[in-house]
């Protein structure tokens, strides 16, 4: 009986939409992932977009959200393979936009639905891409609720 309950719990946990409070960079990340991607923004977890999304992102590095992130082909391919390997499979993780943004997925918008507009406009936040503006340990891949400090609000309680 106890085992059955455990199995049921485990199954439920696995079926839950992304345990998103711990999203460390997967251990098989090529050094180029940190060197190239994480030099301009924190290393976004590959599990926050689908494989098709990442392929689109990596196909348009010359138009990378208003910037240029052009890479040589070998490095580009290496990073794309890594992202695709760890990409999300659920459709609610699919980004929107061209190239797709992980900050526009159904999941992301749901998780951030209670934030007022003025927080997004706050100079200390400046952009939804700036995870560490509120997720104080995002650089370490940790997004736990107790680590959230929203500029203008302080500690965030859901």
């Amino acid at each position: 009986m106890r085992t059955a309950r455990l199995i049921a719990c485990a199954a439920l946990a696995l079926s839950l939409p992304a345990r998103a409070d711990r999203l460390p960079v997967p251990a098989d990340a090529p050094p180029a992932f940190k060197a190239e991607c994480a030099s301009c923004h924190l290393p976004y977890p590959p599990a926050l977009l689908t494989a098709a999304d990442w392929q689109q992102v990596m196909a348009k590095l010359d138009k990378h959200y208003g910037g240029s992130a052009v890479l040589d082909e070998k490095t580009r391919r290496e990073i794309e393979d890594f992202l695709v390997r760890h990409a999300a499979t659920r459709s609610r993780m699919a980004g929107a936009g061209d190239p797709p943004r992980l900050t526009r997925s159904e999941w992301f918008l749901h998780e951030h639905r209670k934030l007022p507009d003025r927080t997004w406009r706050d100079a200390r936040v400046s952009s939804a891409s700036n995870c560490s503006a509120c997720h104080t340990r995002a650089e370490q891949g940790s997004y736990r609720e107790r680590e959230i400090v929203v500029p203008g609000f302080g500690k965030w309680k859901d």
């Binding site: 301009c40 923004h41 010359d62 910037g67 240029s68 560490s132």
Partner: protein
């Protein structure tokens, strides 16, 4: 002789450590081939750094991310990510890796100027950042 050596080194594309003045000299040599008599100038580099190109809304000038001084730490204008100072005096690894320098000129020039930077602009820029105090 030094000029010949440097141009070989640039042409070969082999990643090797160099000093900021060596890198500036390499770009200056390239610029001199395009316009004979070219001499790099830190003053022109400073003007370039301060110029408002206004091609990009969020990155109208170098200062949008790198602040008014290359000696200060900056912040990415879009993502908010911290950027270490550009000046070798404040950040010793700056302008020592030719491949890295080329990569960032390629990206940042297309972002801020909407075009590639010339060898002359690169030489002036490195000289300015190196002499900044």
């Amino acid at each position: 002789m030094k000029r010949v050596w440097l141009s070989c080194f640039f042409a070969s594309g082999i990643a090797m450590a160099a000093s900021p003045p060596e890198l500036a000299a390499g770009y200056a040599a390239e610029a001199a081939r395009q316009s004979p008599g070219f001499q790099p100038s830190a003053r022109r580099g400073a003007e370039f750094y301060a110029r408002r190109f206004a091609v990009s809304e969020k990155m109208p000038a170098c200062a949008a991310c790198h602040t008014d001084s290359p000696l200060q730490a900056g912040r990415h204008a879009v993502t908010g990510k911290a950027i270490r100072p550009l000046a070798p005096r404040a950040e010793t690894a700056r302008f020592t890796d030719p491949a890295k320098v080329e990569k960032w000129f390629r990206r940042n020039c297309s972002e801020v100027l909407g075009r590639a930077c010339s060898a002359a602009e690169k030489a002036d820029f490195i000289l300015f950042a190196t002499e900044a105090k």
